[in-house]
Symmetry: C2
Subunit: 408 residues, 2 copies
């Protein structure tokens, strides 16, 4: 996701019809991407009878709801297909390798620290009320020294948050609607959705070259999973502090998907075109629209960065990387071309000439394994399915056994 | 805060100058409210030398930064004055009765439940990853039955959040920039700031009557503090489900200011002008821009609503209400007219004909007690200071003793 300074980068429908019939209507999907244009899956949009206020619906949200952008319907579709499958096969052992949700327990060195902080909140000495919106300074300092040592990133460049997804939306609020977002294809759906919500809609533009002077938002949520020589942080690249923001998370390192803790680096060197520091506006949004991550979660984050915590996180990461290897080897041995899996625990399996949704459906029907159709991440994902490596080892092995039965 | 469907409701400066000198500039404050127009307190706006990207700054944030709206500078001002005071009197026992930050420990019945959930996260059985963005269903159900029994509010109308302030900003994103916000005066600064951030700027309009058909956003964060016959929830009023949203919080009931947990009620009966349910758009924002409150905080919220938890919360509330009574009695006995204090733990003391900032300064200088100038909450607060009743009992008593010495 990078940002330059004019407007419009996505698919806008020529006309979002304003409906005057206050009954359940079948809305036709509008769009070009397969995952929402499936004719047999028309969406039901609910308009209700009853008292109507005089407040107009936000047009940005109508556009999102209309589902003309690829990610919108994909996740719902997958969930709906899974639910239907469970109804059809109530006794099946369905294995979910769809969304990237962690499954392994949080290491005790980390939960002990959170429990200690929690008990402390019941004492006069250990109680604390509102913390700084930007996070507690010892945690900010620990993040800076653990992940950005020698990169010139300082503790006051670190903004602790309740997760990368939340920070991505806060960044959208910082930049507002008068910017153009360029988003890679395939991409994480929240990048696109949060852009549309802020009003950054326009035509889908393929192969557009952007001018220099953009701001790069770099999502490093999987940095600890990387196994090749690419930079773990964008700030390893000389000059990046003047052009980049980095967002990151404890979710996939320590199993914090439910605990909620992440951070964003906005270097003080990053300036708008008028010389105003971006960090000052981000700080303002953090203070106005957010009141800091939970102090208990922050105690957990601090424990993650102790020597024992780091070791425990590496073990968690290694476990999911082993899962990834098992999946990669399985599909490779079956003759598939496999992409990804090196720097993130997701495996992209190529089914040339086939529809992602058809492959997804066949795998679900015949193996009871939920994957994600690649086209759900953008047109570039068509012809692929994405297999998540988050899962208990037994489930990963069982899923791979079924893949072998299906494709051998 | 209520919303109708056109635009503009606040003070817009005639011109926000775009600065071309990339040096530290002294920016003149622009505005009509005393709390930002203090000539001796000119703000320093920093523009930096160095590489500038080509991304323009969000004009909404420039407007906010320019500080022409009353709340912007107030909190910073108070903090700055307090810091200067501490430098001047390093040995003084400064008592903070400014912002509403809780001071009393969280009852053990609640922290025990959070610690139990935390330890559970280290086990296979107790681990959970991403939870529903709207909150865990047992908590939603418990909130509905505890606070909205017999009011027709159901568990799926409840959206659990990381706090009321965060939900207020999410509501702004739902409504977008093409609505008019009408905000009471005096008001909680975040209502105004979050409106400006979304681009809802305009002239300050006094005594404007709004048409019917608005949506009311009702902040019930202090409902448990109420001691008169006014409704605790707006949904006690017949028909409110068709016109109102209610936001609420555990912060001031259980000391969760740092733990972060609140909720918002968006009844399914609330419709936009085209009949589309507001709850569906709010749900969309919650799922896209937020990933749910921390599961540990949610375990705490659930414990709050057990019989023991409710009793413990009532004790916390009673303690702060006793503080409130002590402050009210003190100022009343000194001959002041006192407002508030009945339905929230804040006491508004009237100093007719005096400037809020002058009174604030005199109290700080002579008693070492930090209050908040009423004008910081809007023009209607001029001539008042607001005294928060959040504090240890000893500090409240000591502050009142000093008030008596000053004003007797």
């Amino acid at each position: 996701m990078s940002i330059s300074s004019s407007s419009s980068a996505f698919l806008a429908p020529p006309h979002i019809s304003s409906r005057q019939e206050y009954v359940r209507l079948q809305a036709k999907s509008i769009g070009v991407c397969r995952c929402i244009a499936r004719p047999e899956e028309e969406k039901t949009v609910v308009y209700c009878k009853g008292y109507q206020t005089k407040v107009s619906r936000n047009a940005n949200l109508s556009k999102l709801q209309a589902g003309y952008l690829f990610p919108e319907v994909c996740i719902c579709h997958v969930a709906r297909k899974k639910a239907a499958h469970l109804l059809k096969y109530p006794d099946a052992h369905v294995i979910s390798l769809g969304i990237g949700d962690t499954t392994e327990p949080i290491p005790e060195v980390i939960t002990s620290a959170m429990a200690k902080r929690t008990y402390g909140l019941s004492t006069l000495e250990g109680y604390s009320g509102y913390g700084p919106g930007q996070g507690e300074m010892p945690l900010r300092a620990a993040i800076a020294s653990t992940f950005y040592r020698d990169l010139g990133i300082e503790e006051d460049d670190i903004f602790v948050s309740d997760g990368a997804k939340c920070d991505i939306s806060r960044l959208q609020v910082v930049f507002g609607s008068n910017v153009t977002m360029a988003i890679q294809d395939p991409s994480y759906p929240a990048y696109v959705d949060s852009s549309v919500i802020m009003g950054q809609t326009g035509k889908f533009q393929k192969d557009v070259e952007r001018k220099n002077g953009s701001i790069i938002v770099f999502d490093s949520a999987y940095a600890m999973y990387m196994s090749d020589d690419n930079p773990r942080s964008i700030f390893e690249i000389v000059g990046a502090k003047e052009v980049a923001i980095e967002t990151a998370s404890f979710s996939k390192y320590a199993g914090f998907t439910g605990v909620r803790l992440g951070w964003t680096v906005v270097p003080k060197e990053l300036l708008f075109s008028d010389g105003f520091p971006v960090a000052r506006d981000f700080n303002r949004i953090v203070c106005t629209c957010f009141n800091g991550a939970s102090n208990i979660s922050q105690a957990g984050g601090f424990a993650c960065l102790s020597p024992e915590g780091l070791q425990a996180m590496h073990q968690v990461v290694s476990f999911y990387k082993e899962n990834t290897d098992i999946i990669v080897k399985t599909f490779t041995s079956l003759g598939f071309n496999v992409y990804g899996g090196k720097n993130a625990p997701y495996v992209w399996v190529h089914f040339p000439g086939q529809s992602s949704w058809d492959v997804f459906g066949e795998i679900l029907e015949k193996t009871h394994v939920v994957t994600t159709p690649g086209s759900g991440f953008g047109p570039g994902g068509e012809g692929f399915i994405r297999v998540s490596a988050f899962g208990h080892r037994g489930n990963i092995l069982e899923a791979c056994k079924r893949f072998k039965q299906l494709y051998n």
